[in-house]
Subunit: 201 residues, 2 copies
DNA sequence: TCACTCACATACGAGGCGTATGTCAAGAGG
DNA sequence: CCTCTTGACATACGCCTCGTATGTGAGTGA
């Protein structure tokens, strides 16, 4: 019973650091986030940081992986609740746009993450969000609803469109009204993937 | 004649600094670019930098504005050479994707720029690229070729799709083959804006 | 010629990162 | 129960970079 005492404490400290990093990176941005302040906020020092993670960038990696997993899970739920695959794809897009409204996701995953860690397409967990989108598109192609386009290409562009929509909405003075325009435009673009001009149920 | 001697020298030094910054930011990234090295590379010191620009961020602003203007000019030429408005829009998208292959544009305009300066939609010169795309879409709507979607929304999402395509292509092991897939997918998505399913000439 | 301006260089202070070193609790073994 | 080892974390140090305050010399007008 007393065997895992150290390991448990270490895991907890790791979690605390990641939690602190999520808020610090989200509010101040990666570059302006001080590791001294960040660690002190949870009662630790930079020593704990460099022991648990490779370096500052390693901490960002851990944060990105965690958020990526959460986003994938949320998108999975949205997709499964939709009455059809096609509507699921559209719902995913809308959900993605709305998620990017959250400062944490916007700042860490969409701005600093790519700038510091490089292209998201090469992230481990290889962008679980994209993976989900691609699986949906593949299924739609097999059902004959979507044109036989390259699955990865379609997924990436669709995600990219949703991403820029999200950034636009987030920076808008009136996010609410802009959100509607963005979602409409997203559905229009997505319909370009359809085999028939008529949109399916 | 001897009147503008100081002003001319200053303009030249500004240009030299911007040129040096373009290469430094492109090769090392904004965060890792040292202002000492950058200025020394053109025979100046940080004194010149902080006299000509607000700060490091100000230098990035100047670089971004310059590149933005160049991109807009190149896109304008591509668009004007196309045989029709619709094909011009597609050509613009392809050209945009190809431009993002250039490390300078990719790193500065697509990665570090947004991370450091904030959302590109609020940049002065307000993203000349987007402006051009929006004008084209507006014309296409007036001609009845494109659905009456929100012009800004469509333009932003289309640019976003092209952007993510570019990042994907740039990071690919075999950019050539991936480029084709990306362009195809872009055309498919763009066709979703059409009023008729059939693509116009 | 002389005073003034201004573009730029030099010098300084603050802060952040990464690492080398120290320290103390938790387990192992006798 | 005592000692030894391990390892998680704290402390201390050096290096680099940014931004600013101050110095300086060429250019300019009277």
């Amino acid at each position: 019973m007393a065997k895992g005492k150290r390991a448990a404490a270490m895991a907890e400290n790791r979690a605390k650091l990641i939690r602190a990093a999520r808020t610090a990176f989200a509010t101040q941005g990666y570059a302006d986030a001080s590791m001294d302040e960040l660690t002190a906020a949870v009662g630790l020092t930079r020593g704990a940081l460099y022991h648990n993670f490779e370096d500052k960038k390693g901490l960002l990696w851990a944060v990105v992986e965690q958020i990526d997993g959460e986003m994938a899970e949320r998108l999975r739920i949205v997709r499964e609740q939709a009455p059809s695959l096609w509507l699921g794809l559209l719902a995913e897009g809308s959900a993605y746009i709305e998620m990017a409204l959250e400062p944490e996701i916007q700042r860490i995953m969409l701005l600093d993450g790519p700038a510091v860690l490089g292209d998201p397409s090469k992230w481990p967990g290889e962008n679980a969000c994209l993976d989900i989108t691609m699986r949906t598109i593949r299924a739609l192609i097999e059902e004959g609803i979507v044109k036989p386009v390259d699955v990865e290409a379609a997924g990436r562009l669709l995600n990219g469109a949703a991403l820029s929509a999200a950034l636009w909405v987030a920076a808008a003075d009136d996010p609410k009204s802009v959100l509607n325009k963005a979602v409409d435009a997203f559905r229009a673009l997505a319909s370009g993937l359809l085999r028939e001009a008529r949109e399916p149920a």
